[in-house]
């Protein structure tokens, strides 16, 4: 089962986990959640996420499919938010299930790594004084 969502509405982690818990005879489930962090030297007011809808959907779908096949997953969920977020808000949620934990871990990490360097989303940090486009790092 593959599920991809790109949404502006808040990410309801516990709802997603409730769904998982209901059908979790998979052995191992790994979840990655990335959230908005505060800045080091300034206060973040909002984080804005812009994206290229058609391509983002394509890239996330392909990433999920590759992971699903390569690591023999039984489930793969990717949810990514766009729009204006606040500190602590989840940005991305990746859930991978497999009979074996190594596969679930490897697949999950592959997806977030690939997504960070290939999925067309861009972050802008708005502080009280200024706005900055986040630059790519790793």
């Amino acid at each position: 089962m593959i599920e991809i969502k790109i949404q502006s509405k808040a990410l309801n982690i516990s709802n997603e986990m409730k769904k998982i818990s209901k059908l979790n005879a998979d052995g191992a489930t790994v979840t990655f959640m990335g959230s908005v962090r505060d800045l080091e030297y300034e206060n973040l007011e909002t984080l804005e996420i812009e994206y290229f809808p058609k391509m983002a959907k394509k890239v996330l779908n392909k990433t999920a499919k590759d992971a699903y096949k390569n690591w023999n997953l039984s489930r793969c969920i990717i949810i990514h938010r766009y729009g204006k977020l606040k500190i602590g808000d989840p940005i991305v949620l990746i859930i991978t299930s497999s009979p074996h934990r190594k596969e679930a871990f490897r697949a999950n990490e592959y997806i977030i790594d690939f997504l960070k360097t290939n999925a067309p989303f861009w972050k802008k940090e708005n502080t009280e004084k200024k706005s900055y486009w986040v630059s790519q790092k790793n």
């Binding site: 058609k54 983002a56 990514h80």
Partner: protein, 82 residues
């Protein structure tokens, strides 16, 4: 040709998309970038740091990609999602 701009590049060009009539001699993505930078300083500024990607019909391509069958070209800075 339909062109899409995202993030910082969109801000510098001050457009999220536009449709441009391209001259006959524009064959590759590299030709397109050269054409735009010569068209107006606003594009020159947007592409000056060479830190951008080009996607033809949602596939990232190199500067020698032939665009004759492309419907839509997106130009954007390195992605920072996740």
């Amino acid at each position: 040709m339909k062109l899409l701009y995202f993030a910082k590049i969109r801000e510098v060009i001050n457009k999220s998309e536009e449709i441009l009539e391209l001259p006959q001699n524009i064959n590759t993505t590299g030709d397109l970038i050269k054409f735009l930078t010569e068209l107006d300083d606003i594009y020159k500024n947007a592409f000056s740091d060479k830190n951008f990607f080009i996607a033809c019909d949602e596939e990232v391509v190199e500067m020698d990609f032939l665009i004759k069958d492309t419907k839509e070209i997106a130009i954007f800075p390195p992605v920072t999602g996740g």
